[in-house]
Symmetry: C2
Subunit: 225 residues, 2 copies
DNA sequence: ACCTGAACACCGTTCAAGT
DNA sequence: ACCTGAACACCGTTCAAGT
């Protein structure tokens, strides 16, 4: 307790003192407001009113910086089980937490499929695994099931983010989907009957609900184990 | 037929004539043998014995080039249904085709979670959708189920590729997994009981089999619809 | 211990000039 | 129509020099 207070005092002496937390925080700001391409060590050091080399005292390199920003965002995903709630509900809540986090910070999606799991992912994996145990999944199948579920969550949320990044910031989402749906409807009926059939659903579908439908499909499969 | 032959003749007149196909082919070679960071317009133009600007005559920019390489690899994934084979088997075959393609070309995984679906993905989506129809999935649920399945396939295969890229080319895979498993086993038992439990399975698990186990979990869920 | 900022070795992309 | 290659406007990273 005492050393903690001492450290806090020293850190707070100068509100603008450089630290890894402040660097990560500012990097997230840039990523959120201006996109991945805007995050350069020059832009970052300009915002932090310091030299570009100063950042390297706190961060190993750009890869390390991006890993830290990703971990920071994912660390806020709540995984604590609500007492009394059925395991399925807990898993759905975790899934939506990941979806919303990546939806709010699309660059996290790209990062997750480039780098290894940040430490925050292990916490999520642990939570999902415990809920599967609560569901009565046989021990032999728990590892595969947890891996599949978490991979699905991260993979799909990431792809949604890729699509989100595609749509120009100003443009209307439904208008964009309408254009794609129109393209699908124009495909060769002999070669793409299924795509043409679902084209009508594309424009009005909700990514979040569709993501959750996939989780439920998984849970239905898990229930058969 | 005749115009095809004529075009082939003209293309073959100079074996080293620059074309988008030859550029994409060479780019894939570089990506496979030297990794993503080695693919530069300078390296590419050196291999093609031309100026870097010449490539821009055939390709819009680097994003376009990467999209073309990804599409080229995915186009080779076989989706044609084997006559008589049950739909589940056909879906498993498609899934393994994607897994193996990304396993052989890990950079495809990163690309898929950064860019929108290349045209080859639509063919895969169509095939999966048709197999789901053959399984008797109600029409209302087909879109969600096909999206979930394809997203899972691409997402997981991509994450496996990210891990593969992590392990240094020379190092032993099982030795690497052993190190991670040892780390997991050392985690706080109070906070990470599940992770500790599956640590023993980590070292000896097969990514491909685990990927397929996830597909089967999905299919079991689909069967309940 | 931490910060500065010029310098280095690269990039992707453009474009006048060639054939 | 297609290719050349120098030039431009950037990058991430390093490092001697400062405080």
């Amino acid at each position: 307790m005492v050393p903690m207070a001492t450290r806090a005092q020293r850190t707070d002496r100068r509100a603008d003192a450089l630290s890894k937390e402040r660097i990560v925080e500012t990097a997230i700001e840039i990523l959120d407001t201006e996109g991945e391409s805007a995050l350069t060590f020059r832009a970052l050091s300009a915002r932090l009113a310091t030299g570009s080399g100063a950042i390297y005292w706190h961060v190993a390199n750009k890869e390390d910086l991006l890993a830290a920003t990703t971990d920071d965002v994912l660390a806020r995903v709540v995984t604590g089980e609500v007492t009394g709630a059925p395991p399925q509900e807990a898993i759905r809540a975790i899934a939506l937490g990941i979806f919303d986090a990546i939806d709010a910070h699309p660059w996290v999606g790209a990062q997750l499929s480039r780098a290894p799991w940040p430490s925050a992912m292990l916490r999520i994996f642990e939570s999902v695994g415990r809920q599967l145990q609560a569901l009565g999944v046989p021990e032999r199948a728990q590892f595969d099931a947890a891996t599949a579920l978490v991979s699905y969550m991260v993979g799909v949320a990431g792809q949604n983010a890729a699509n989100a990044r595609r749509v120009a910031p100003g443009t209307d989402r439904s208008a964009f989907l309408g254009t794609v749906a129109a393209q699908w409807a124009r495909l060769d009926p002999a070669r793409y009957p299924f795509v043409r059939q679902v084209a009508t659903q594309l424009a009005e579908h909700d990514d979040r609900a569709q993501f959750l439908a996939g989780v439920d499909l998984f849970l239905a499969g898990v229930a058969t184990l």
